[in-house]
């Protein structure tokens, strides 16, 4: 289909070296796809000129949806007509990114026919990214995708495609079923995912334990992180085995415990579970000897995001502990109260984390009807600027402001 590839002396340099080369990937695709061929050309030009050649914005989509497609046009269509349109489609991945090859091959087939043949496996939110197609292909692609059981992911001011660590599917530490929860939330919020109506985006990420293998604390408006309330399970014999095998239990574990709540006398490993922070370190180092407790669930944190506008945020605790059982009704109710408030009071392009900072965590809790808990703060306030709400009136009764 495609004839000779363009000359790309700079990009060719990126075919050298042991790591898989994206240039080789584009070249493979370019053999068949004129869009990928022009992608090679336009990218080589960017490398020469040190500037991108994509225009700002672009608003395209499929009917009935407000998100899922990122419109993209190049600024030199005369030179690269096959990437004049180069829209991206976000396809909602299955929870945990598990696939069977037949499903993947079907996606490839659609994309061979209707797109550039280039993908991201996956985007950094978690979607399958189909990279580069034109407006007229969007509806057919959507139709064919739904026919094989896939749907679009989020974009715009909506729920973004949730993602999760592989959790109970393969990890012994999963304190709740992350994949089940991720799937459940995704299905439950289809409308919010496809039809943007929020002040800004809202991301869910599910990690099975405090190791947080989907980095939820850094990049989810709601981070649901598995943990436990009871005691770490210890197999003392197995601890001894690690020690015999050369693990320096004192140096490598006890001394690195952030809670300083462990003690090892060469025979017994003691843990003061009342101060253990569930950081996972000891468990990580001796997976055969230590395991999370049995009273498992999750803590929910809220509000992380990238720096713009007010500076980056990590998520902060909003529910210190909750059992994670379908249909997760309590969490759904909470989420809905949060959305209601945020939609009513949030400013345009104000993420929930910024919103909370603006209105104050204490006020926010009040408005979403959640009791304050000491787990929600790193420490109590340091400044004496307390908005006392109670006071006595002249007539002696205690009044409330």
């Amino acid at each position: 289909m495609a004839d000779e590839l363009p000359k790309t002396p700079m990009l060719d340099e990126l075919e050298k070296g042991p790591w898989p080369s994206f240039v080789s990937e584009i070249k493979m695709a370019a053999k068949r796809s004129p869009a990928s061929k022009d992608l090679l050309g336009i990218l080589e030009r960017s490398y020469q000129e040190k500037i991108g050649h994509w225009k700002h914005g672009g608003i395209v989509g499929v009917l009935g949806y407000g998100g899922g497609v990122i419109g993209r046009y190049c600024d030199v269509p005369q030179d690269f007509p096959n990437v004049a349109h180069f829209h991206t489609i976000r396809v909602n991945q299955p929870a945990g990114w598990y696939y069977k090859t037949d499903a993947l091959r079907k996606i490839c087939d659609i994309w061979e026919k209707r797109g550039s043949g280039m993908t991201n496996m996956h985007g950094s939110t978690g979607d399958i990214i189909l990279l580069g197609t034109s407006t007229d292909q969007l509806e057919p692609i959507f139709e064919e995708l739904t026919a094989i059981g896939f749907d679009l992911g989020g974009s715009g001011s909506d729920v973004r495609t949730p993602s999760c660590c592989l959790g109970k599917s393969r990890c012994e530490w999963a304190c709740y079923d992350t994949m089940a929860a991720c799937h459940d939330f995704t299905k439950n919020y289809q409308d919010e995912l496809h039809r943007p109506a929020f002040p800004y985006k809202f991301k869910f990420k599910f990690s099975g334990c405090p190791n947080d293998c989907v980095a939820s604390v850094a990049r989810a408006d709601m981070s649901i992180i598995g943990t436990w309330r009871d005691n770490i399970r210890i197999d003392q014999k197995a601890v001894g085995d690690y020690a015999s095998a050369g693990v320096d239990v004192t140096k490598e574990i006890v001394n690195l415990c952030p809670a300083k709540c462990m003690d090892w006398d060469g025979k017994m490993l003691k843990i003061d579970n009342s101060t253990c922070r569930r950081c996972m370190h000891c468990i990580n180092v001796m997976p055969k000897a230590l395991r999370p407790g049995k009273d498992t669930g999750a803590c929910i944190l809220i509000g992380s995001k990238a720096p713009i506008v007010e500076g980056a945020l990590l998520s902060s605790v909003i529910v210190p502990f909750i059992k994670m059982e379908p249909p997760y009704q309590e969490i759904r109710d909470l989420v809905e109260r949060i959305w209601d408030l945020w939609c009513d009071e949030g400013k345009n392009r104000e993420r929930i984390g910024e919103f909370i900072q603006r209105v104050g965590l204490g006020n926010f809790l009040e408005m979403i009807e959640v009791e304050p808990a000491a787990q929600m703060v790193a420490h109590p306030r340091e400044n004496p600027y307390v908005f006392y709400e109670e006071y006595f009136e002249e007539g002696e009764e205690e009044a409330e402001n």
């Binding site: 914005g57 395209v60 407000g66 715009g156 001011s157 039809r195 929020f198 939609c343 392009r349």
Partner: protein, 105 residues
């Protein structure tokens, strides 16, 4: 810039079909643009949305947040999508001759 023709109208639009000269907007053009967004007739309800969008934009210089649009017009999000299948941002704003929504995609 592509040109878009409809009946005897000839409007210059961008790649996404948004008007290049929003100041030229009129009801005829609205109808024309609607046709590109799978809207054949502009009913009273359509106009309610379009007018609200235009007035809000005139007053505040921005498009309203969608939740506000729903609240103020009394339509649910679903109803808006039924009227404007490509949605409030791409569909309704285009028909209303507003600048193309940017930012958060």
């Amino acid at each position: 810039m592509p040109n878009f023709e409809w009946n005897d109208l000839n409007i210059s639009v961008d790649e996404d079909g948004f008007m290049d000269q929003p100041e030229d907007w009129n009801e005829q053009i609205a109808l024309a643009l609607a046709s590109t967004e799978s809207v054949d007739v502009l009913t009273d309800n359509h106009w309610k949305v379009v007018n609200y969008l235009r007035e809000y934009y005139k007053e505040f210089g921005i498009a309203p947040m969608i939740r506000k649009l729903c609240k103020q017009t009394g339509f649910s999000l679903k109803e808006i999508y039924d009227m404007f299948p490509s949605g409030p941002a791409k569909g309704a704003c285009k028909v209303a001759g507003l600048p193309k929504p940017t930012g958060c995609v």
